[in-house]
Amino acid sequence: MSTDEIKEKIKAFICQFVQNVDIPDDEDLFASGLVNSLFAMQLVLHIEKEFQLKVENDDLDYENFKSINTITDFIGQKAPNNE
């Protein structure tokens, strides 16, 4: 899966939770209050199911989940075979 495909899938998922459809790719989702704390685990479950990978203890870095860009990078690194 290409980076663009990952990004599109993540965007589509996040768009379900926010009012503003056009979220900049580098917008901090949590700091901007766009999503609530329940979303955090829903995002983890989505990443695991959609991209067939396991989010674990070592992955709990705010940077990994902060924005569409960082989530995309995180998935790309966790699943390098997707490329």
Partner: protein
């Protein structure tokens, strides 16, 4: 779509039901009056693997599928809601470790929690903090390569006997969770008695005074204690409670069917009175509706679908409201007998109320369910 249980699930349910009939139902009222769960019963649950229902086999658990584990919660809940809460809190901690613990934590604790060698309890609620969980006042401060934890936790199910506690703290203002063992210097518990319900769930207040815990006891990372760790625990708790409400409601129904078949007033059995039939009909219908919600939540949980969080919330909300109506009607049907100690329905009613408060009150569920409804509405509008 297939809503039928598999032959294996039917067989499991029978074995759970047999266990409840033999070891729980006959003594649940007595334990309720004594405000105690005997250690032998906890050990027996462990030997059966019931405490490890949700723990994978590689860590010594039973690794049950979500429907089978739900059926276990249902059956235990029909016998004793207090005892169900042991499965719930032990599961909340073990699921948090399973999802966010280190490999060392998983390997050390999960086999023990699966077998009842050790029992875990979940410490979020405090004297000043209930629903607003991420604002807990218990603090953790880094000191060398360990943390110093200070605070109080209240209303902790099985806090009187648990060996291990998962504690939500504020660490530099970030919600952070730690494992604290009972024998940690500075840690003590005080029993809470005289409760409305869950009387044999051995609730306690936890006193955490300058408890030094190694950094290896951190579960997840600082800042992720509420959004990730506590939410995993709460989701699991809601799942167990929802199924437990189903079992408790079934117990109310069975008691009501039995009583109305025997009790005679105005020359006929109560079952012949239409106003009684109305209550029985509503019980049956609401139980069936709850069961479908439980199955749906189980299906999504088994699939690891992100939708499971909302569906579990909806299921817990509906089930806990439903069982309050049913338990209330069960007492009404039993009349004065229902208020006395001879029948279990008064315990069912008291326990039902607790179900509507724990692991997110009905009001907290309403908020997130309504928000989700508006989110879906917005999404549908966009699609058009």
């Amino acid at each position: 779509m297939n809503l039928e249980l598999t032959p294996e699930q039917i067989e499991s349910r029978k074995s759970f039901s047999d266990f409840v009939d033999e070891y729980i139902a006959p003594v649940a009222d007595q334990y309720d009056r004594n405000e105690e769960t005997p250690i032998e019963l906890i050990k027996r649950l462990g030997e059966q693997g019931f405490l490890g229902a949700f723990i994978p086999e590689e860590y010594g658990g039973r690794g049950m599928d979500m429907v089978t584990a739900g059926l276990l919660c249902e059956e235990i809940g029909s016998g004793s809601a207090s005892l169900l809460s042991l499965l719930t809190v032990n599961g909340m901690v073990s699921q948090s470790i399973l999802k966010w613990g280190t490999n060392a934590q998983k390997e050390h604790w999960l086999p023990k929690l699966a077998t009842g060698e050790k029992v875990a309890a979940f410490g979020v609620t405090e004297p000043n903090i209930g629903s607003d969980a991420k604002s807990v006042e218990t603090t953790a401060e880094l000191s060398g390569n360990s943390y110093i934890i200070n605070g109080r936790k209240k209303w902790i199910s099985y806090g009187q006997v648990a060996d291990l506690f998962l504690i939500l703290t504020q660490c530099d203002g970030k919600p952070t969770t730690f494992l604290i063992e009972r024998d940690t210097p500075g840690f003590s518990t005080t029993p809470i008695t005289g409760l409305l319900g869950f009387r044999s769930a051995m609730l306690a207040e936890l006193h955490i005074e300058k408890c030094r815990v190694p950094e290896e006891n951190l579960v997840g990372k600082p800042g992720f204690g509420f959004s990730h760790v506590t939410n995993v625990a709460l989701d699991h708790g809601r799942y167990c409670v929802g199924w437990g409400c189903l079992g408790l409601a079934e117990a109310c129904l069975q008691a009501s069917l039995s009583y109305t078949s025997e009790r005679k007033q105005f020359g006929t059995n109560l079952r012949g009175h239409q106003l009684i039939q109305e209550m029985i009909a509503d019980m049956i219908t609401n139980i069936k509706a709850t069961r479908l919600l439980c199955y749906h939540a189980a299906y999504l949980k088994e699939a690891g679908d992100p939708g499971m969080i909302m569906e579990t919330s909806i299921m817990k909300y509906f089930a806990s409201r439903m069982v309050n109506k049913i338990a209330n009607d069960a007492v009404q049907i039993h009349g004065a007998h229902g208020c006395g100690s001879e029948y279990s329905v008064q315990r069912y009613l008291r326990d039902a109320k607790i179900m509507e408060i724990i692991e997110g009150s009905s009001q907290m569920q309403q908020i997130i369910i309504a928000k989700s409804g508006y989110m879906n509405f917005r999404l549908e509008k966009r699609k058009k």
